[in-house]
Every structure is written in structure tokens, then in C-alpha cells.
């Protein structure tokens, strides 16, 4: 048997339990060890990557969802960090009428990605002197993610993480967003109203601060628009979401 035939045969054994044509003593025992290790490792990877989701679903439902994911999505990356990235989509398929499950998985996935996202040096306050705010462009930190949210997954996550009884799942009065970032080395998140989420999306798409103010003036009026823009900026600076501000191209 060629090496590639052996390797594809063992792949098919691990992913589809198609027994390879091996001439090996005690092949069944050896194949079982590899199959058990493969599945146990992926199960452990998902459980360690999604502890809050695991707590929310319970052991049996989590194990069933993980087994479905392992059957449908064999790993492809060299890093196990990547294996859990597709799990939220599997959960949305499995729980179409429980949006908090998919939201919770997506939140936990984004927190894990923020944990290992590229570092970003803190914004130098001196760089803000003499800035032309109408033309100022804000570069967001690489560890920032915006997720759409239709449920109270954020409140559920926080309660479970603090060892408290989580609230019942609820739909949000209107679809919102969850902002995930890293504060120092610690992932953080907060639920956003739609207007702030839109403002951050606009910045990500290259909108400058003057245009952002104009957008808010158009929606909120001459008085409230600039005030809201100022309060957003202050909050984003406090949260450490801004990597750089410049009135030159970034």
C-alpha cells in the first residue's frame, strides 16, 4: 500500500469510520485507539472553547451538538484554535428556534479570537493635539469584533461566567449588536444599541469623524448629533477601541 493510500484510508476511518484495508496484527484495537483519541480530542477542544455554552446547554445537549459538528466538519487547520470557528453555525442549524444558542456560541467564539488577536499599542494622547476632527480617521484595534444579536445572550453569558443563575432566554426588543474587544489581555464585551453599532461599522468602512458627525446630525438633529458623536468617542477611547487617530490617511 502506498503512503498516500494508507493516509487517506486512515483519514476515512477517522472521519467516516470506513475501515481501511490494513494487514496489521490487532488492527481493530489500534484503529479504535486512534478513533477514540481523534473524537475525544475534538470534543475536549469544543468543550474548552465553549464553557459557557456548555453550561447553558447541559452535558448531554452539548455533547450531541459537538458530535454533530465533529461528524459534519472534520478539522482542516494545523491549529485546534481554528476548530471551534464553525461551531456557532452548526448550533444555529441545530437550534433554529433558540437564537440565544447561536448568539451565545458566536459571542464565546469572538471572545476566544479576541484573546489571541494581534496586539495594538495604546493610543498616544499626544497624537490628538492639533488634530482636525472633521478630517480625522479612527483606526480600530484588530481585536475588535461586532456581532449581530437578536437575543439576550450577553446577559446569559455574564450570569454564567459569574456563577449566577442565568436569566431566561429572550429576544431583544429590536435586533442589536455585541461589541467584543480586548482590554489589556482580557477579552471584554458589551451590548450596543443599533445606532452605536452603525457608527462603529461606518468607521470600519473608512468613514472619517466629520462624516460620522454628519450622519448623526442627519439622524438625531443639530444639537444631539455632535453630542452623541462626542460621547461615543469618549467611550471608545475609555474602552481602548481606538488604535490610532489621524487627520492624514491611515
Amino acid at each position: 500500500m502506498s503512503l498516500i493510500a494508507l493516509q487517506t484510508g486512515l483519514r476515512d476511518w477517522l472521519t467516516a469510520e470506513q475501515t481501511p484495508a490494513l494487514q496489521a496484527p490487532r488492527a481493530k484495537a489500534g484503529l479504535s485507539v486512534y478513533l477514540n483519541t481523534y473524537r475525544a480530542q475534538l470534543m475536549a477542544c469544543l468543550s474548552e472553547s465553549y464553557p459557557t455554552l456548555h453550561a447553558w446547554l447541559g452535558d448531554d445537549a452539548f455533547a450531541a451538538a459537538a458530535a454533530t459538528h465533529i461528524d459534519a466538519s472534520p478539522p482542516s487547520s494545523w491549529t485546534l484554535d481554528a476548530y471551534g470557528l464553525g461551531f456557532p453555525a452548526t448550533l444555529r442549524d441545530l437550534y433554529p428556534h433558540d437564537p440565544e444558542v447561536g448568539d451565545l456560541a458566536a459571542l464565546e467564539c469572538a471572545l476566544a479570537q479576541a484573546f489571541i488577536a494581534p496586539d495594538s499599542p495604546p493610543l498616544d494622547p499626544a497624537s490628538l493635539a492639533d488634530i482636525d476632527w472633521d478630517r480625522a480617521r479612527l483606526r480600530l484595534i484588530p481585536a475588535l469584533t461586532l456581532l449581530p444579536a437578536s437575543s439576550n445572550a450577553g446577559a446569559i453569558w455574564s450570569a454564567i461566567a459569574q456563577g449566577e443563575t442565568p436569566p431566561p432566554a429572550q429576544l431583544l426588543p429590536q435586533p442589536g449588536a455585541i461589541l467584543i474587544w480586548r482590554d489589556g489581555f482580557t477579552p471584554a464585551f458589551r451590548t450596543l444599541e443599533t445606532a452605536e453599532a452603525r457608527a462603529l461599522e461606518a468607521l470600519r468602512e473608512g468613514c472619517d469623524f466629520g462624516a460620522l458627525c454628519a450622519m448623526l446630525v442627519a439622524r438625531e438633529g443639530e444639537t444631539a448629533g455632535p453630542r452623541i458623536a462626542g460621547s461615543y468617542l469618549a467611550q471608545w477611547l475609555r474602552d481602548g477601541l481606538i488604535a490610532q487617530i489621524s487627520d492624514h490617511p491611515l
Binding site: 498516500i4 487517506t8 488577536a117 480586548r182
Partner: protein, 276 residues
Amino acid sequence: MAASHRFGLGLRKPHYGDFLDGDAPVAVDFVEVISENFMVPGGRPLDVLRRVRERHPVALHGVSMSLGSADGLDADYLRRLRSLVDAVEPLFVSDHLSWSRIGGFNSHDLLPLPYTLEALEVVCANIHQAQEALGRTMLIENPSSYLTLDGEMSEWAFLDQICARTGCDLLLDVNNIVVSAANHGFDALAYLAGIPAQRVRQIHLAGHSQGRDLLIDTHDKPVPPPVWALYRRALERTGPVATMIERDDDIPPLADLLEELDLARQIATQPERESA
């Protein structure tokens, strides 16, 4: 530099505080980390590694290079490992004589190779590519395995061949010899006699478990007597060599592992008294 005994431990999360926060560095000569855990863009893992490196020499031990893949190595993996190597300036860079990846599938397990001439060509070509990409010699570790595949040579002859052809060195896992000797029915002393002992730069010690039919390399127990006994015999062949204990499950307090490491020190430095 003359060869010398050095004694280290694998760095695992439950012991980060011990390694980073103590007034004095932990009493080890080096620490070994799993390379892939630190091949990340940023965040706390790299900060931990940077701070550990300020206190200790670090060995990088990989589990995902997949040196036995018939369809070659992953270029992205090699680039990221090279970045880590450049940042850490490690004592050793090692990975296993095994494969994990084929055709876009990655098992995340150390799967066995048949010891054939074809596999030898593949492994040697991959080691050449890796050593070129990393700009240094690698250490190749003998695996534990659970399938006795048809081959044209023994595992130790295969290791001898890859050292001769690629210039790589060896990471001898004594526990893996014990496990594979039991599973495949070979003589562990014949294994030690057959490897190019002068190429062994590092030794791993660990524990294993008895499965239903086979011994399993679980790293969840203290180093057992048969592994200590074979370690003593291995040192007779290799001479002084960097030795470390791997513990990946049911991880005890660091003090327990340091005590275990003292046993390795005693065996390595007082072999006559220990074997009396």
C-alpha cells in the same frame, strides 16, 4: 559546548503562576512549550512566553508539523513557526516522527507511519524542507503507536536513516519506547542499541496507561518504574543529555513534578548507586 545534563519541565497552564510570579526562577535548567500554543498573533500567550523566556531557556516542541505527510508540509505553518523561533531563540525545536494531515484534513493526532523506503523518502524530504525554512537543525521524536504497519525496516533503523540523510538530531521519548515495545512486541534494549545515540539531544520522560488491549501514551501519571529503568539504560548509550518530564493530564502541583525531576537528576548523576 560540551554536553551536559540539563533538567527541565513542560510549561503547562496550571503552573504559569509558579514560573512567572515567584521571587526566584523555578529550579529547572529549561522549560519546554508546545509550539502551536504560542503560534498566535498576540495576546496573553505570547506575553507569558516572553516573560518565561526572560527567566529560562525554552525548547519548542511541536505537534502539528506532520513530518510524515505524503503531500508535504504546510507553508503557513512553517512561516509561523519560523517567526516563533526567531522570537524565542530556543534551545531545541522538535516534532514527531508521525503524520497528522492529508488532503486538507488535519487529525490533530500523531498518526503512525509505515517504516518503508517510500515513507523514508517522504519524511527526509519534509525534514529537509522544515530545517531549511527554520534555518536550524530539528530534533525528531520517536512516537508511541498503536498499529503495527507493514514496513521494510525497524523504527530505530528508520530514525538512524533520517539522521544520516538530513542531519537532524533526536528527541528520545523513553516512555514512547516502553509503550511501543509493548504494543508491537519489540525489544526496548534492541531499540536503544539501534538508534544513533550520539544524535540524542533531548530525552522525554512520561507516564502511560494500560488500555483494554494496548498501552496508551497518556501523560497523566508519574513516570513509572519501567520508564525510569529504561532511562538509566538510555543514558548509558547517550551520555549526558537534556531531560524533561511531560505531564499533560491530571497535572499535579509543580512541587510534585520538581520532586520527580530530582529522581531524573539522581539517576543521571549517580547511576551506579541508583542501579545498585
